[in-house]
């Protein structure tokens, strides 16, 4: 049972009501949206955090040391949840996160790792081909964030034997977006 608001093809908007506390929005003959009475939340763009940030400058990456990537240029940050190269969403739910790191020269393998609350939760590795100037490692995952204390960061690693340089620009970036409320 539900209270239903329907956009019909003959009578414009019609409505029927009951005491279930459930609201349905319908178009023609099919229900489009159900707003549960007890659990669940209908998402709209206004409460779906999304961000994209990239490296504004190059960064030294020490040998065999997981290093937080500095992402100094925000391309967008719809809910003001990104600061100090850290994404701390204020809406609870499941987020898709992507990260990529380009190492400009001298690397052996390079790893891009997504951290949640200081621990690695996803990683991807790239190996530069012979004669190729750079290598880009990418990774992604869907991760739950509690909307208050959980935070996400991008780290990089390489083991060439010396320091190498993380490139700036769009090849070194992290993005994320809420895809489902908890």
């Amino acid at each position: 049972m539900a209270s239903i608001i329907t956009a019909t093809t003959t009578s414009g908007l019609t409505q029927s009501a009951d005491n279930s506390g459930v609201l349905q929005l319908a178009s023609g003959t099919g229900n489009l949206v159900t707003v549960p009475s007890v659990t669940g939340t209908a998402m709209v763009s206004g409460n779906m955090p999304a961000f994209s940030a990239r490296a504004a400058t190059t960064q030294s990456l020490a040998n065999t040391t997981y290093t937080k990537v500095t992402l100094g240029t925000e391309q967008f940050d719809t809910n003001s949840n990104f600061a100090s190269s850290t994404f701390t969403p204020t809406v609870e739910g499941y987020y898709i996160i992507t990260g990529s790191v380009i190492v400009q020269s001298g690397a052996s393998a390079v790893i891009a790792a997504i951290y949640k609350n200081g621990s690695e939760v996803a990683s991807g590795t790239a190996l530069p081909a012979s004669g190729i100037f750079s290598a880009t490692a990418t990774t992604s995952l869907v991760v739950y964030c509690n909307g208050s204390s959980d935070y996400i960061e991008l780290f990089a690693y390489q083991g060439s034997g010396g320091s190498v340089t993380i490139g700036s620009g769009f090849a070194t970036q992290m993005t994320g977006c809420l895809i489902r409320r908890a």
Partner: protein, 53 residues
Amino acid sequence: MSLYEKIIAIHPSLANIDFTTVIRLQDNSDGKGAYIAKWEHPTLPRPTAEELA
């Protein structure tokens, strides 16, 4: 001398693979430098602060 170099000087038998498996060095880019975030090597002891100073 980097943290990695200090650790290798103490434990020369360590290999690069150890630093992606049983040992993790980490730098949070907060100006405090690198530190040992994890040391789970099955035989070699974690270097002390005095050894790394």
